[in-house]
């Protein structure tokens, strides 16, 4: 029996075992009708597994599920949908060349004869979209619309199928800060209309902002369910990690030395050959962290790719220790003691099918002692890997397991281990903690600050304003490919940066603290 009457959903003692892993171990989750319930936990805690059980994608090895007071047996997503459970996946399940409307009605299309009844379909979509404040362009093709709008299409899709309980799997991971605000407005409007929301996340700020109650999972077990107003971010972090976590970065005043890296009048085009970086000039000193704040897609990626030798530039130059390295390729730049944590660890940072020891030497694989006369020295590499795995606490597999079997946080630690182990003098860190759990964030931040204190110059790019603010010594704000201002981190705040990032000039007018 469900434990209380006002629970719309009660999952009791859910156990799900995969070969070698107990992904869910007697997990309990109870959801009240009409609440926004955050399901939090580190990567690998079993959140997604639990939701896949609820959505009928996995058959549990033990436990019971009660929905609206009745025990249910979910054989597949069809059963879940029938009950009124909808899921918005982290990776959208949309057909790119079809229109928004076609995607929404796909699988339960209104028909007139053999044809899709476009009119009814569009009317239905419009109705839902207005009712919940979900703005979409019904006739646009999926491939042409923003990620935020694609997500709204996914939401309408579940509502169109009559969902009362909506599951969101890390919905904010792919969104810009503005889009996150919009999503939370949608959450509120859904709640007002009586819908129930479960959302998976590991971002504590979001949990505090939007949820009513929180259930914390750790290592496959449900640790606790708490009312959001009764706990602090620190409390939740402790529940997630199992120990106290420092959410604020602790660092001493920077002690900048001479200039190590300089960009002069850099212009770079994006993949469509449109200008992405416009006439940027910047400089980084030894022993300081220069943060680049900006809404994603304002030229940060192109800028980083250009200075790491991964993208051709149009004009301009950059210097390292006074040496012109403008036309160096990726390998030559690495040899200049430049480390690079790339923004996309799966696309750039790792060869996912390589094992840990092959990944930990990527970019250094042709150097002694890893390689001698063109022959890989796997004994040396194994020794080296063992040391680094221990030092950087990379968990989830030995050196022989493939990188793709690690959780996101451990993949990132693997990259950090590799890049920080060759005494970098200039460090480029792009979204260093994206999709990484709280414990690993703390670790990576400390590593970056340690490097700075060792006298390395650091260029940091992050979409997380709080990260840029807490780590950086100086902050350059990028907007539409231009640096609109450079500020001292200690003399600015999220509000001022937010304004600069979106193109509205700060009231004070760009005083430069260069």
């Amino acid at each position: 029996m469900p434990r209380e009457d006002n629970y719309i959903l009660d999952m009791q003692d859910i156990t799900k075992i995969f070969p070698g892993v107990k992904a869910n171990d007697n997990v309990n989750l109870s959801i009240k009708g009409g609440e926004i319930h955050a399901l939090v936990g580190e990567n690998g805690a079993g959140k997604t597994t639990l939701m896949n059980v609820l959505y009928g994608l996995y058959e549990p090895d033990g436990g019971q599920i009660f929905y609206e007071g009745n025990e249910v047996d979910l054989d597949g997503p069809e059963d879940a949908i029938k009950l009124g459970i909808g899921m918005v996946h982290q990776h959208f399940m949309l057909v790119e060349p079809l229109t928004v409307t076609e995607n929404i009605v796909l699988g339960s299309e209104p028909r007139s004869g053999l044809m899709l009844d476009q009119k009814t379909a569009q009317k239905d979509v419009k109705e839902i979209s207005e009712k919940y404040g979900l703005f979409v362009d019904p006739e646009a093709k999926i491939q042409d619309i923003s990620v935020g709008m694609q997500q709204r299409v996914e939401i309408i899709k579940t509502l169109y199928r009559g969902a009362e309980l909506l599951i969101f799997d890390e919905p904010t991971a792919v969104l810009t800060p503005q889009e996150i605000d919009e999503l939370f407005d949608i959450f509120k409007s859904l709640k007002e209309q009586g819908k129930t929301i479960i959302f998976i996340t590991h971002k504590l700020k979001e949990v505090k902002t939007i949820s009513d109650r929180i259930t914390v999972l750790r290592s496959g077990k449900s640790i606790d369910t708490v009312n959001t107003e009764d706990v602090t971010k620190e409390d939740v972090a402790e529940l997630m990690v199992g120990r106290q976590v420092l959410l604020e970065v602790e660092k001493t005043e920077a002690n900048p030395g001479e200039e190590i890296f300089k960009i002069e009048n850099l212009n770079v085009n994006d993949n469509r050959e449109l200008p992405a970086v416009k006439d940027i000039s910047l400089s980084v000193k030894k022993g300081e962290i220069l943060g680049i704040a900006g809404v994603e897609g304002n030229g940060q990626s192109e800028l980083i790719e250009a200075i790491t030798g991964l993208r051709k530039i149009k004009s301009g130059k950059f210097e390292l220790r006074g040496k012109d390295i403008t036309n160096f390729n990726a390998r030559e730049i690495k040899r200049e003691k430049v480390a690079h944590i790339p923004e996309d660890r799966q696309k750039r940072g790792l060869i996912m099918d390589f094992d840990l020891k092959e990944n930990i030497i990527l970019g250094y694989h042709d150097l002694e002692p890893f390689s001698r006369n063109g022959i890989m020295q796997y004994d040396n590499i194994a020794q080296y890997t063992e040391d680094l795995i221990e030092k950087y606490d990379v968990r989830g597999g030995g050196m022989e397991s493939q990188a793709k079997n690690l959780s996101g946080g451990n993949q990132q630690k693997l990259i950090v281990a590799r890049e920080f182990s060759h005494d970098p003098e200039f460090l480029i860190a792009s979204q260093p903690t994206r999709g990484v759990d709280v414990g690993s964030i703390e670790f990576i931040h400390n590593q970056i600050i340690d490097r700075r204190d060792d006298g390395a110059g650091v260029l940091l790019v992050s979409a997380e304003l709080s990260e840029v603010l807490s780590l950086s010594d100086r902050i350059a704000v990028i907007f539409e490919g231009e640096i609109v201002d450079v500020l001292k981190a200690s003399e600015t705040d999220e509000r001022e940066l937010g304004k600069l990032m979106t193109g509205s000039q700060a009231e004070a007018g760009g005083e430069s603290n260069e």
Binding site: G46, T49, K347, I351, G363, G396, N405
Partner: protein
């Protein structure tokens, strides 16, 4: 140690899957054999006896698998680097033709010079033939599938239609016979060599029907060298990185263009060795039709061998056995079409199980943690 047991386990799984698909193919094949009013049992026992039933059968199975192992390697190696080499056929022809020319043109070289010269010349020209699409891909981004297919046609026209006519022996669509000094050592000649004739089995080998020659050993050596290259050298590390994730490799400072050209040259040379062996060891001249589609069968061999050089040896042996045993099946009255059909079924089911394996891996990954 744990890591070895894991490795052995995964190898055994691969082997088991390949074996299972062969069994399924043979079971489905029985249906078609029934169509011919023959007993499947007789047919399959003929297949087995033909391929493994006697010393001669086993040795000739090795002989038949030789060019297939080599073309299989020529497909498998680029596959690891993310490239699909459809051009083994053309590379084989170019290698064979070159070896054939060198084989008859130089009349007064000792074997110790003539044979290696013919082999290396053939491999080198075939390497260029394979390297060319590599250059096109690296420099101009021309898709290697298109380029290699087109080069197959050009190679056919160049060697069979045009080349043979230049040197044609009267009455035979072939180049003149190669000199003895360029011929590969054949095992049925063991008795004629002072040291080898004292070896055990030398009598068994010395029957005229034994066709096995030196190239089988060159093929095995090539497989071992390629295995070492792929998994133990820096070049191999880079090739596999490019194959798995070109963006990641670029980030790691690996030049994809260099890898692509190198791997295509090597693979062309290996396919060329298949043709060289056919000319210098089997036919003793470059003949029309001697390629017998080896280049294309090589694709199947590579896939069955999981694109692993050692697996390719096994894949080549399987196809060699099917070809050798298939003859015996024909003698027992099964039409050659049915024999081909059974070979095709084996390929089909191995490919299908490959898909199944990918599916299993995906499910397992999904099943892992989050």
């Amino acid at each position: 140690m744990n890591k070895y047991s894991d490795k052995i386990k995964s190898v055994l799984t691969d082997l088991g899957l390949s074996l299972l698909s062969i069994i399924v193919a043979l079971i489905v094949g029985t249906l078609f054999i029934y169509l011919t009013d023959k007993s499947p049992l007789d047919a399959y026992s003929a297949l087995y006896i033909g391929a493994f039933g006697s010393f001669r059968a086993i040795v000739n199975t090795l002989w038949r698998s030789t060019p297939l192992i080599l073309t299989g390697l020529a497909v498998a190696l680029p596959f690891r680097a993310g490239l699909f080499n459809i051009g083994a056929e053309g590379q084989l022809l170019m290698g064979g033709f070159t070896a054939g020319i060198v084989g008859f043109y130089f009349t007064s070289l000792p074997t110790i010079i003539h044979l290696p010269f013919a082999i290396i010349a053939g491999m080198f020209v075939a390497g260029l033939w394979g390297g060319l699409p590599g250059v096109l891909k690296a420099k101009l981004d021309v898709h290697e599938v298109i380029a290699t297919i087109m080069l197959n046609y050009i190679a056919m026209a160049l060697t069979i239609n045009y080349g043979i006519n230049l040197f044609k022996e009267t009455g035979r669509p072939a180049t003149p016979r190669i000199m003895k000094s360029a011929a590969m050592f054949n095992f049925n000649n063991m008795n004629k060599y002072p040291f080898l004739k004292d070896l055990p089995l030398s009598d068994l080998f010395s029957q005229p029907a034994i066709r096995l020659h030196l190239n089988f050993f060159l093929a095995v050596i090539a497989a071992v060298i390629l295995w070492y290259l792929l998994f133990k050298t820096t070049l191999g590390y880079e090739l596999r990185a490019v194959g798995f994730n070109p963006d990641g490799a670029e980030y790691g400072g690996i030049k994809a263009s260099k890898s692509i050209i190198t791997v295509m040259f090597i693979s062309g040379a290996v396919a060329g060795l298949a043709g060289v062996g056919e000319v210098l060891g089997t036919h003793f001249s470059f003949m029309q039709g001697m390629d017998a589609g080896y280049g294309f069968t090589g694709i199947a061999v590579a896939l069955i061998g999981q694109t692993h050089p050692i697996g390719v040896i096994l894949g080549g042996l399987l196809f060699g056995a099917l070809a050798q045993g298939g003859l015996e099946m024909q003698f027992s009255g099964i039409p050659s079409e049915i024999v081909m059909l059974i070979q095709a079924l084996v390929i089909f089911f191995v490919a299908a199980l490959q898909v199944f394996k990918v599916y299993l891996a995906k499910r397992k990954a999904k099943g892992g943690v989050e």
